[in-house]
């Protein structure tokens, strides 16, 4: 056979480049995963409430489930490389009204969880930071301050400042945001590496000694007392069992959900297949490995029984627990045994906690912007600042909503017990079903997309990935539905989700009618021009 050079001829013309690369996407996603929040929540709730569960095994299960969900979203991001996340997917791939309603409920749910993240600034970040500095420098004032700032009013004030600062950052532009994310990532990375190093080099005996010293002003012989007190109150360490381990998997999987958030900025990513692949799948795998590793090491150093007991006591008998909630960075800081080590760890976890806030605002803001460009919201929502070239109104709207949710969460009991994660599961379930059907329902669109290049023997792997994703989402939904601690299915939560979803639908049709009167057919934004 002839050997011919295979190349193409290019002429010099003006070019097109999209802004975010693989590293940006990876950092963005791992920021929303927030390894720090994931570790903190899993270690606080896991051993206390699922005594037979194994954090490393549960983390591995969570990573596997989330991997399949992520794979489905990766296919979507390649098939429809647009900003706006599942709004772009479902409106283009299935049905515009359904797409809007799902996007509405999805953005609502994540903004609500962003309010929760704003409280972590104090409970996972500043609280342990001040407490550990106070303990190791014998400054009782700092310890008292640590206890005070985790109260609702300071949490609201600090959380509001954090959200407003995130909004200001986003207004100044995506480049500054990505730069900020990278700096935060560095600080967060130092924090988690420092934690892992201390977990590696320190023994259980050293932790017990450090803990007893730190807690001496509050509980004599604290380590053993904490365990005994928990047992007295009915908590039991029952040894490993699979049922508790599977149940526990919802806790590491909740932060892993953040690994798919780059679907919100899909239109701003270059080399989508590669960048989203590394960003989505890579961030989930890396975070999963860290969860497994930290889980394994912390059992060895803190002690499985102690972790469960100290967390259990924090609600059942607070006088027999740490003065502030015993989140992982507090225990890791005590393990470090010195100011420098505990500050590095706490700053790292503060960075992890803050990571979530601007990134989730971006997720919601991009959805609002996409609605506006399709004329589903007032034109002002799509207003872009001439100075910064950013959608200022969309950002301000999401910031205000976030602060409102923070207030409701902290001060109104109805909202503090609300769990909206099932709303996201509903949105994902429908997106996965749409993903299975997409190569068959939107044949032309699919054929022209990068996703069709991944077909196996002519069969669309996008459908296979979405099927696997659907199974994973259904398993996760089952676990969440039956776990009152992680989600449950309280009437007020289901009613809120249904109301928001219904409002989304109603809003779509109201706007459609309104635009029709103005001479705009919203449906045109989603229709392909037939050429044959």
């Amino acid at each position: 056979m002839d050997k011919v050079p295979t190349t193409v001829f290019l002429r010099t013309t003006s070019g097109l480049v999209k802004s975010a690369g693989a590293a940006d996407v990876f950092v963005y996603n791992i920021g929303v995963i927030s390894i720090g929040i994931g570790v903190s929540l899993t270690h606080l709730t896991g051993p206390a409430n699922y005594p037979g569960g194994s954090i490393p095994i549960a983390s591995a299960i969570a990573t596997l489930l989330m991997f399949f969900i992520a794979l489905a979203f990766w296919f979507w991001s390649v098939a429809i490389p647009r900003s706006g996340g599942l709004y772009a997917y479902v409106t283009r791939g299935l049905n515009p009204a359904l797409g809007f309603a799902l996007s509405f409920v999805d953005a609502f749910a994540w903004l609500f969880y962003n309010a929760l993240a704003a409280t972590y600034i104090t409970s996972i970040g500043f609280g342990p930071l001040l407490f550990n500095i106070g303990v190791f420098s014998n400054d009782a004032g700092l310890v008292r301050l640590a206890q005070e700032i985790v109260q609702p009013v300071p949490q609201f004030i600090i959380g509001t400042v954090a959200v407003v600062l995130a909004g200001i950052l986003l207004i100044t532009g995506m480049r500054k945001f990505f730069l900020f994310q990278k700096i935060l990532f560095l600080i967060a990375l130092i924090g988690i590496i420092t934690s892992i190093l201390f977990l590696f080099v320190r023994s259980n005996g050293e932790f017990v000694a450090n803990f007893n010293t730190a807690m001496a002003p509050y509980i004599p012989n604290a380590y053993d007392t904490v365990i005994e007190a928990a047992k007295t109150k009915g908590w039991r360490f029952s040894g490993f069992n699979w049922e508790d381990t599977v149940k526990l998997a919802v806790w590491p999987i909740l932060p892993l959900v953040g690994g798919i958030f780059s679907i919100a900025i899909g239109g701003e990513i270059r080399e989508v297949k590669k960048s989203q692949g590394i960003g989505i799948l890579g961030s989930i795998i890396v975070a999963g490995i860290v969860f497994v590793l930290v889980g394994h090491l912390s059992y060895r150093v803190f002690g499985t029984e102690f972790q469960g007991a100290v967390a259990f006591n924090s609600t059942a008998d607070p006088t027999k627990s740490t003065p502030i909630t015993p989140f992982f960075p507090l225990l890791a800081g005590i393990l470090a045994g010195n100011v420098v080590g505990s500050v590095l760890i706490s700053l790292g976890f503060l960075a992890w906690a803050y990571f979530w806030i601007p990134a989730t605002l971006v997720y919601a803001e991009r959805a609002v912007l996409a609605w506006s460009l399709d004329r589903l919201t007032p034109a002002s929502f799509g207003y872009v600042s001439e100075r910064f070239h950013t959608p200022v109104v969309a950002i301000v709207v999401t910031v205000i909503l976030n602060i409102a949710f923070l207030y409701l969460f902290l001060f109104i009991p109805f909202f503090s017990t609300l769990t909206l994660v099932l709303a996201a599961m509903l949105a994902w379930t429908i997106t996965m079903v749409a993903g299975i059907l997409f190569p068959f329902r939107a044949k032309e669109l699919y054929k022209r997309s990068g996703a069709s290049g991944l077909d196996f023997q002519g069969f669309p792997l996008m459908s296979v990935a979405n099927f696997l994703g659907l199974i994973s989402v259904l398993i996760l939904t089952y676990l969440l539905w039956n776990d009152p601690l992680a989600a449950g299915h309280s009437p007020q939560s289901l009613l809120t989700i249904g109301s928001v979803f219904g409002f989304g639908f109603a809003f779509f049709y109201i706007m459609k009618q309104r635009r029709k009167r103005q001479g705009i057919d919203i449906a045109l934004a989603f229709k392909e021009i037939p050429v044959e």
Binding site: M1, D2, V4, P5, T6, T7, V8, F9, L10, R11, T12, T13, S14, G15, L16, V17, K18, S19, A20, G21, D24, M174, R175, K176, F177, F178, L179, F180, K182, R270, L373, D374, R375, G382, V384, S385, E386, H389, R448, S449, G453, Q518, G519, I520, L524, A525, K527, E528, I529, P530, V531
Partner: protein, 322 residues
């Protein structure tokens, strides 16, 4: 002149289709699909890449496409790929290994081949447009952009359906006026149609002097106004490599200061722009509503916008992707 004072004038505007056959067809079909009175296709009609397909001596064909070397046995199989390539805006040329070797030796031969293929495709498009627009009550306008060689002017001058409006002021449906300029300011690529800001300013002043009612005038200018947010492009170094900062790709406004100055001074009703594919959006500069629908021609999707003008005002607008 009769002004449609109470009627609605609907304009569909798309731009930067860069040789994509399916996008051109969509532009033609947009008139009836969107029910508009005027279709305007902004600049950059011609494509950027030729895919050479080598006809092998022992039979079969070989070419490079989407990052892969592809070998096919029959012409039928090749045709399937050709449709996809045309859709994406690529030109195709089939030749023997000897012809290929000769062609690769000189830039001039490649330039001539580009010229030949561009002309052929434009001619095909115009025939298609003529056939498809006969029964359509709509005005069709187009113009070349900075990436289009001047040689295409002769080809598009023969169009019976689309009117080349480059460097002119025309009265369009509804009694509105449309001022059009297809070239751009200087680019790092030194593309065929570029002018200095001073020259653009001079041409603009000349054309503006022909506009009778600026408050009913549409500026159809390929290059967007400077620092309008419709002109954000990646910053490049001296070797035309994208500059990456710690926050990702560095971008900068690359629009025309002369165009911005003209808009600020004269405040026309509407500004239709293109050139910067990734700067899709709309802005207001004083009273002028400015829009750049962007372009994703390489996906075979046509990005455009529908603008409804009523009583000398922008009554409504909608970005579409069809």
């Amino acid at each position: 002149m009769i002004l449609a004072k109470t009627g609605l004038t609907k304009i569909f505007f798309a731009t930067d289709i860069h040789g994509s056959e399916v996008c051109f067809r969509k532009v033609v079909k947009a008139a009836s699909f969107y029910g508009v009175d005027v279709v305007v296709l902004g600049g950059d009609l011609t494509g950027k890449m030729i895919i050479p397909i080598t006809r092998l001596r022992e039979g079969g064909y070989q070419f490079y496409f989407r990052g892969k070397d592809i070998t096919l046995r029959t012409e039928e199989e090749v045709n399937k790929y050709q449709d996809e390539m045309k859709r994406l805006g690529f030109y195709i040329h089939i030749f023997s290994p000897e012809e290929g070797a000769a062609l690769r030796k000189g830039e001039e031969q490649i330039a001539n081949l580009f010229r030949k293929l561009m002309i052929e495709r434009l001619e095909e498009w115009l025939l298609y447009a003529e056939r498809e627009t006969k029964q359509v009550a709509c005005e069709f306008y187009f113009m070349p952009g900075n990436d289009d060689g001047y040689f295409i002017d002769d080809v598009i001058a023969n169009s019976k359906s689309f009117l080349n409006v480059d460097r002119s002021v025309r009265t369009i449906h509804g009694g509105y006026e449309m001022l059009s300029i297809g070239y751009s300011n200087s680019t790092p690529w030194h593309t065929p149609r570029e002018k200095s800001e001073a020259e653009i300013g001079k041409d603009l002043n000349f054309l503006i002097s022909q506009v009778s009612m600026m408050d009913r005038c549409v500026f159809n200018i390929h290059v967007p106004p400077f620092n309008s947010g419709l002109d954000e492009a990646p910053a490049l170094d001296e070797e035309l490599r994208v500059i990456y900062g710690p926050g990702g790709v560095s971008t900068r406004p690359v629009g025309s200061t002369a165009v911005r100055g003209a808009i600020e001074s004269y405040q026309p009703l509407l500004g239709l722009f293109g050139h910067i594919h990734e700067s899709r959006g709309c802005r207001k500069i004083n009273r002028t509503f400015c829009i750049n629908p962007g372009s994703v021609y390489f996906e075979g999707k046509l990005r455009g916008c529908i603008i409804a003008l009523k009583d000398g005002k922008v009554a409504n607008w909608q970005l579409v992707e069809g």
